[in-house]
């Protein structure tokens, strides 16, 4: 539990009366949420977060506008989930619905990368990359712009309504809503041609789903990043629960060096640093924390490891003339070693990380192999089952098949088809009788063909004959095959 602020502590200029309002040990289950007023942090990690935020937002907003030439019959948008035409485009990759396993592979890769990162560096995802963190960070920056830093915000919130308070609050919410709308607006760019969407959206011609998703994303962005913030991470997100199993005592986490800091207490200029810890209990780490916790209580579910407390603490350490790194990226094991007076030891290669890395490598290799050997021609045959076979007047037996030919290439193909099996089998293609045994398929299309195979009576020597349909593209030589059977109705 955080010690309550004492009047003596406030005497030092660095002291803050920040309270870790979201600390699990003091937070009441049925109490109203207490507003957190994160103080502005300055330093190395804050800079990294600004840069990463700029990069992540730029990627999110600009990606849909990048073009990628795929020929005249496919979209030229580099990243596009085209539900209307059932295609997924990602730069050089084009996926059909039946190839959704590539997306599964992508999700597995993302999960394993997350596991590996967590095993090495703790919750870096939560701290830097998670959209909840990025947008909340952005929203807090807007809030700070209009309402000032922590103390000003707190005072103004306590004060009665005034014109000054009102215009600042209203401006903040207007900018928030604008950002939220821009977030929802960018989301829909990924599902239709981005330039068309931008035009159609403002002329009221975009698809209804576009407007619905725009409204949904606007709403969730506004509420999650604007008003819910740390509650999303604390109550809604499953990842804080899962990450406890992914991290361990040898992962680099944002850690308060208990060995250095304790016993903590206020420190006046000129006082001796002997027989006491470096922590002057200034609570700057609490003041900057967007999650409303006290990092000095150790690793906890609420901590997103955003490292802002490191910046805040380093700043104080500089001012009081103690070495930086009282709060730092450190492993639990090393803190124990420091306490025993031993040297730190970093083991990035351990069974957990090796396992994650090797599984990750294997899945990546399988994905790469799958993408490289992906065919542009596919063939499926389904045999008619009602009737199973037809006996013709000359005694021969005929089976009907529906051939589904998938042409994933950007070319118009005219495929040769033949049957590998009993040479007596005769083939007829309904609707294409006059054109020889060839199947025309448009670019990026699936075509069905009705095919009849007949077996003359003298060739019938059992209840069924196995054979293989073979289609081949005479231009590229690419082939696709599928096995099937011809039922004769003859006794076994």
């Amino acid at each position: 539990m955080t010690p309550s602020t004492s009047p003596q502590a406030a005497t030092d200029q660095h002291q803050s009366d920040a309270v870790a309002v979201n600390d699990a040990s003091t937070r009441e289950l049925y109490a109203k949420r207490q507003q957190i007023y994160p103080k502005r942090a300055k330093g190395k990690f804050r800079l990294i977060k600004w840069v990463f935020m700029a990069f992540a937002l730029a990627a999110y907003y600009l990606l849909p506008f990048i073009r990628w030439d795929r020929g005249p019959d496919a979209s030229n948008q580099a990243v596009l989930v085209d539900f209307a035409h059932q295609r997924f485009y990602f730069f050089f990759i084009e996926l059909w619905p039946q190839e959704l396993y590539f997306v599964t592979g992508l999700l597995i890769i993302a999960a394993l990368a997350l596991f590996l990162a967590t095993a090495l560096f703790g919750r870096v995802w939560c701290g830097y990359a998670c959209p909840q963190t990025v947008w909340t960070d952005l929203f807090i920056a807007v809030e700070r712009f209009f309402e000032g830093d922590r103390n000003k915000r707190m005072m103004r919130d306590k004060a009665p309504w005034s014109f000054d308070k009102a215009w600042r609050k209203i401006s903040k919410h207007i900018v928030w809503i604008f950002i939220a709308m821009a977030t929802g607006g960018a989301w829909i760019l990924y599902f239709h041609d981005a330039f068309d969407v931008v035009h159609n959206f403002f002329t009221g011609q975009a698809a209804l789903t576009s407007y619905i998703f725009f409204a949904m994303l606007t709403f969730t962005t506004y509420t999650l990043a604007g008003t819910m913030r740390e509650q999303v991470c604390t109550y809604m997100c499953p990842w804080p629960r899962i990450q406890a199993a992914m991290t361990d005592r040898e992962a680099l986490n944002v850690t308060y060096r208990v060995d250095r800091g304790e016993p903590r207490g206020p420190h006046k200029k000129g006082e001796s640093w002997d027989d006491r810890g470096d922590c002057i209990d200034c609570k700057q780490c609490v003041a900057v924390c967007p999650m409303g916790i006290d990092i000095r209580n150790g690793s906890q579910l609420e901590c997103i490891h955003c490292a802002l407390c490191i910046d805040a603490c380093d700043d104080i350490m500089d001012k009081v003339g103690r070495p930086r790194g009282l709060i730092t990226y450190e492993t639990d094991d090393n803190v124990d070693r420091f306490q025993r007076g031993e040297k730190p030891r970093y083991r990035f290669i351990r069974s957990r990380t090796v396992f994650y890395a090797s599984v990750l490598t294997v899945i990546c290799a399988i994905m790469a192999y799958g993408l490289m050997t992906r065919t542009t021609l596919e063939l499926n045959a389904s045999r008619d089952r009602n009737p199973n076979y037809v006996r013709l007047s000359d005694g021969s037996v005929r089976n009907g098949y529906t051939l589904k030919v998938i042409n994933k290439s950007a070319r118009y193909v005219n495929l040769d088809i033949h049957v590998e099996g009993d040479p007596a089998i005769e083939m007829r293609i309904i609707g294409h009788e006059g054109e020889g045994l060839s199947l025309p398929v448009e670019p990026d299309r699936t075509r069905n063909f009705k095919v009849f195979l007949a077996l003359p009576p003298e060739a019938i020597d059992g209840p069924s004959e196995s054979f293989t349909f073979v289609v081949s593209d005479p231009e590229t030589g690419e082939t696709a095959t599928t096995r099937s059977v011809l039922l004769t109705g003859a006794p076994r």
Binding site: P387, V390, S393, D394, G395, R398, G400, I430, F452
Partner: protein, 311 residues
């Protein structure tokens, strides 16, 4: 919540919450406030209900308002369905018109979209009207022809099939396809002995073994006298009379010896209704195309080739 509590109300000692005053065997009901989220959903639902009643038909049987209130939108699901059906029919009308104008099977076949439409429309009509006798896959049963094969009693061109569909077989239609095979046994036109003999001969027509050669020879004479008028002397049948070819591997009423005897004895009289008037022309056209493409349809080129072979 506890802001504006009534001091006169009793408080529960343990929780400090006001009670409702209701008591059952010493157990008192606490007056906890409703969860806010629940309350707001309730308020929103009430507002929604009012808005709904204003816009949509909602209250039945009010005097002076007909059978129910109409609401501002005057929405009617029955009308919506009727409109949707009309819209669907209008969207199909173009295809049906194309089908009607196409005329020949080649014209249908050369247009993949039209072919796909004809097959879909035909399959649906077939399931509704034809599958009862011919089977869902048009595979037929004993006495009901298999429409997948290449045997056609009354002709297998697109036009023949259309005509058969229109006039039916032995139906009430004025121009119906009609012929009748006598019930040689039942009507005592032939003796049992003679029927056995002619059966033996018929078996030899499709290359099978008769019971005795002598019987088949005797049967040959009977065949010429009694059967050849319709089935032709060589047994290849006659399409103008719907007389089946007896030399092939297909037997509408079964090809076993006993089945052939039975057929000659009772004289089959298969019927198909005339569909003219029951189905519109466009549906009949779609049905004919569907049946044609089941795999047995005879193109004009096929007929010509068959005639050349005969000569």
């Amino acid at each position: 919540m506890a802001d504006n509590h009534d001091e006169s109300r009793e408080r529960d000692d343990h929780s400090g919450v006001e009670t409702t005053g209701h008591e059952w065997d010493g157990i008192k009901e606490l007056d906890n406030p409703l969860p806010r989220w629940w309350l707001w959903i309730l308020y929103a639902s009430v507002v929604w209900a009012v808005v709904y009643m204003v816009f949509m038909p909602a209250i039945p049987g009010l005097p002076g308002l007909g059978d129910h209130t109409r609401g501002i939108t005057d929405n009617s699901e029955r009308r919506n369905v009727a409109e949707a059906v009309a819209e669907l029919e209008a969207s199909r009308a173009g295809y049906f018109e194309q089908l009607q104008q196409a005329g020949s099977i080649d014209a249908i076949e050369s247009d993949p979209d039209l072919l796909g439409f004809a097959m879909a429309a035909g399959r649906s009509a077939f399931g509704d009207n034809c599958a009862t006798c011919h089977g869902a896959g048009a595979q037929g049963f004993v006495g009901y022809p298999n429409l997948n094969d290449d045997v056609w009693l009354w002709g297998g061109t697109f036009e023949d099939i259309q005509h058969t569909l229109r006039v039916g077989i032995r139906s009430e239609h004025r121009d119906t396809r009609y012929s009748q095979m006598p019930a040689f046994g039942r009507d005592e036109l032939l003796s049992r002995e003679e029927i056995n003999q002619v059966t033996d001969y018929v078996l030899t027509l499709s290359g099978r073994e008769p019971e005795t050669l002598a019987s088949a020879e005797a049967g040959a004479e009977i065949f010429v006298n009694q059967c050849s008028a319709c089935h032709m002397e060589d047994g290849t049948g006659d399409r103008f009379q719907g007389a089946p070819n007896l030399t092939d591997a297909d037997w509408l009423y079964g090809g076993e010896r006993a089945q052939i005897i039975n057929t000659i004895w009772r004289g089959p009289y298969g019927v198909m209704p005339s569909w003219e008037g029951r189905l519109d022309d466009q549906t009949i056209t779609a049905l004919a195309a569907y049946v044609y493409f089941l795999g047995g349809g005879e193109s004009d080129a096929f007929i010509e080739a068959a005639q050349l072979n005969q000569d």
